[in-house]
Symmetry: C2
Amino acid sequence: MPTQTSAQRREEARHAHRAAVDLCPTNRVLDRLGDKWVGLVLVELEKGRSRHADLARALAGASQKMLTQTLRELERDGLVERSVTPSVPVRVDYALTPLGESLLPVLHTVTRWATRHIDDVDAAQRAYDRNRTPRSHK
Amino acid sequence: MPTQTSAQRREEARHAHRAAVDLCPTNRVLDRLGDKWVGLVLVELEKGRSRHADLARALAGASQKMLTQTLRELERDGLVERSVTPSVPVRVDYALTPLGESLLPVLHTVTRWATRHIDDVDAAQRAYDRNRTPRSHK
DNA sequence: CCGTATCCACAAGGATACTG
DNA sequence: CAGTATCCTTGTGGATACGG
């Protein structure tokens, strides 16, 4: 008589595998890169140090909350450096750290693939949708 | 007298910018790559064609629903090909398409950066957290 | 064996208003 | 100017059960 049912064993395996996935460096990086505004911020900072207000202008689609949150996460990861100049009003600049700059080539690799193959992806999506959503007339 | 308030103009700009972001090939790809199980599936299929059940075993952490959903999305994007052998019970295999294989080097670039620099990221996070959550004793 | 349908919890993201 | 706090809507992912 087993001390655990097979369902119990499977659930344990699920949790163990999930913990491993969450620790996996690649997945952690993909996760960060997958955040909605991270790519845009990196591209913007690649042009050079930038003030908060300038970033806000460049990322007009992002809410103030999301912009700040994104910058904080990147700062915590050591990818972005935040520097405050205590004037009145205060001036806050953001810049890539060396670690952040080392990530740029990775981003460029993604961008290159995307621009080269996005047409293929679009075509595939259209073909897929065509076969599943046949023209309404029967 | 302006026909729109500045608040209205800013909101329009937000929406316009967001639409552009959603269309941007790079962001679309980052979005897909950021999906929780996409990286794992690609790594698994890189080893070769695989049955659904084998993928389920390899991705023990993923629920059946998410596994299927992930595979569908990748199929729709033209990255993965699904083939059904109508035996009893049915046998379903998944394999990378040439387009999917062309994405592997991109993934490897991410993996390489991640394994090389994850220690730096961890150190940065610890340092950041240390300065914001000072030891409880005062 | 493979897939779908439901229902559900939680996290991500956004709108707004307010502070130093 | 930069940031925080609050509230709210939506999307993502998971558990479970059922069907071909």
